[in-house]
Symmetry: C2
Subunit: 349 residues, 2 copies
């Protein structure tokens, strides 16, 4: 598989299928692992980093992980390609911003599996699925973890569990992140309440592209923070208690909004649709906000002229690096805004 191929498909997690997909975009489970024979990356010399990458690389191409898995040395990807992978949620912002120091990325063709080498830990593997299905994602990552554990010797302490570079990941090394779309809660200004409740139980809430990105387009990633002292099963069980409450809260407000303020919601949805189909210049942020409104409109059956997979796809393909990759060259912001508008009109006409 080539990076180019990503432009002709969108990942499984964008299909808009899976449980509760009117609110839950995707479920992600990731594991942080380190190899016992090498030092943590915080203290690894450049040559050791190279050694680590070499050591892991071939093992990641194991067809047992996935029949179509490709490995890329991040150093060999240019900045646009790296950011494309980030926009695709295949690598982290850290890996996208800095490609140096023997970093690597392996991912499956359907984009459900991705494994980063030499990010914060020697290995960061994730399974990403459409809708609310973190249990099947957990089973899948567990399967991959077992395959790799057979050929790599993980740093593990019988007292603490898996050892990781940052103490917050010690233990299971597992983080579950659920990406949810909460336009009604944003609209009725209930998000502060949600954020406070989640913070109280040590859940973190981030924006569409992880740490430090705000909740643009009314998208939020909800994750567990604590991995130490809990089993993987505990973490999953906790998520199973928490996420349905958020979903229910959003859903209740959606229908309440429709009942109390239907005209205002309809107006917002249709205006967004009208602007997306007519603008000649539009920023990423505005695009996300308007697509968010249209997505809400689709789910509330206010509008039925497009399908949710098209909206999800537009979210990703209108990101800066996707646009630059489609055009095949770097674009200035103003040019990008114009090309983004053209792209949206073409897809929504």
């Amino acid at each position: 598989m080539k990076i180019d191929d990503l432009l002709n498909q969108s990942g499984e997690w964008l299909k808009g299928t899976g449980l509760d997909s009117d609110i839950v975009i995707s479920s992600r489970v990731r594991l942080a692992r380190n190899l016992s024979r090498f030092p943590f990356l915080t203290v690894a010399t450049p040559s050791i980093r190279v050694e680590i990458e070499e050591f892991i690389k071939d093992r990641l191409k194991d067809k047992k992980i996935d029949k179509d898995i490709s490995y890329f040395s991040v150093d060999k990807l240019n900045q646009i390609d790296r950011h494309l992978l980030m926009e695709r949620h295949l690598i982290s912002r850290e890996l996208a911003d800095d490609g140096k120091n023997a970093k690597g990325i392996a991912f499956s063709q359907d984009e459900t599996i991705s494994i980063m080498v030499n990010e914060e830990d020697h290995l960061r593997m994730q399974v990403l699925r459409s809708g609310l299905q973190f249990e099947s994602a957990w089973k899948e990552i567990d399967r991959i973890d077992s395959i790799l554990e057979g050929s790599l010797n993980y740093a593990f302490s019988s007292q603490f569990g898996y050892l990781t570079c940052c103490p917050t990941n010690v233990g299971t090394g597992m983080r579950i992140s659920i990406m949810v779309h909460l336009p009604a809660l944003v609209f009725v200004k209930q998000m502060d309440k949600v954020l406070q409740s989640l913070s109280r139980i040590n859940y973190s809430v981030r924006g569409l592209f992880g740490e430090g990105t705000p909740g643009i387009g009314d998208y939020y990633q909800i994750s567990n923070q604590i991995t130490l002292g809990k089993s993987e099963g505990d973490i999953v069980q906790e998520m199973k208690n928490v996420i349905p409450q958020i979903i229910q809260f959003e859903r209740t407000w959606r229908y309440k909004l429709l009942e109390d303020d239907r005209k205002r919601v309809e107006d917002r949805v249709w205006r967004a649709y009208g602007i997306l189909r007519n603008a000649r210049s539009i920023s990423t942020e505005e695009t996300m906000d308007l697509l968010s409104a249209v997505r809400l409109g689709l789910n509330l059956k206010i509008l039925n002229t497009i399908t949710v997979d098209v909206i999800n796809e537009l979210f990703i393909f209108t990101q800066p690096s996707h646009l630059q990759r489609i055009k095949g060259r770097p674009l200035e912001p103003a040019e990008r805004d114009a090309i983004r508008a053209d792209f949206l009109r073409e897809k929504l006409k």
Copy 2:
């Protein structure tokens, strides 16, 4: 003719024809006249006002003025109908707001001629034409004035000319008002300059519905202020010098905008079009602003899916009283905004 008939037509001045109709909506010439046998309205008793109306009424139905001319006692029209006539530019805001005290209005079926009785003066007559054609409007009002002068005895002083209630109208009693659409000058913030220049030569600039209404939708009515000490010919000649400069200024900026900032103009035009075709609730002010952008787009050939007469018509038919008259009942503002949006979508689909 009945008031209802106005809902099935739009006045000649909305046709979007006439010279320079990309910038000039309409040319209006009005004359203020008083009858020598009656006191000015400032001192007229209610019974004298009734006498004045009775005296003038039959003379206004003169087929020589126009083959289809209708007379209405404003007292007998309800508030919505009075405002409908104002939105149609057939009567002034004063007459619309207060229908009492023996006021009258006569107008021709094509809405080019309208004559108010007992407004500020005994008689206020106007000819309103599409585009830049105040000379032909002047000839027409002169013709009507002569017909009426034959049957009514005007208050006239050989020293001052025609006598009017307000000193600013003494002399010719003539005011020429050109309604212009200046979106480019507004966009590039040149309107202050225009307003200052016009004020320096004693021209007044008002909004779409006359005195005290702001320049919503980028529409401005430019009028001469001084009628004393000038002949009608002087006033016409002055207008002939002034208006083409304004037109030229707007036109220059339109093309400069297109050259320097085409994408931004296109974006503005198409977004406006998109919102008008999709909103579910929209205020009068926003409608005017967006129609203004679409009108500019039409004239700059950015957009060609509608014609300018449709835009002009929408300006008038989306006004509050038109909408209420179309629905046949008074409407609350929120309901009006929803019906306005429905009306726009229907007409622009």
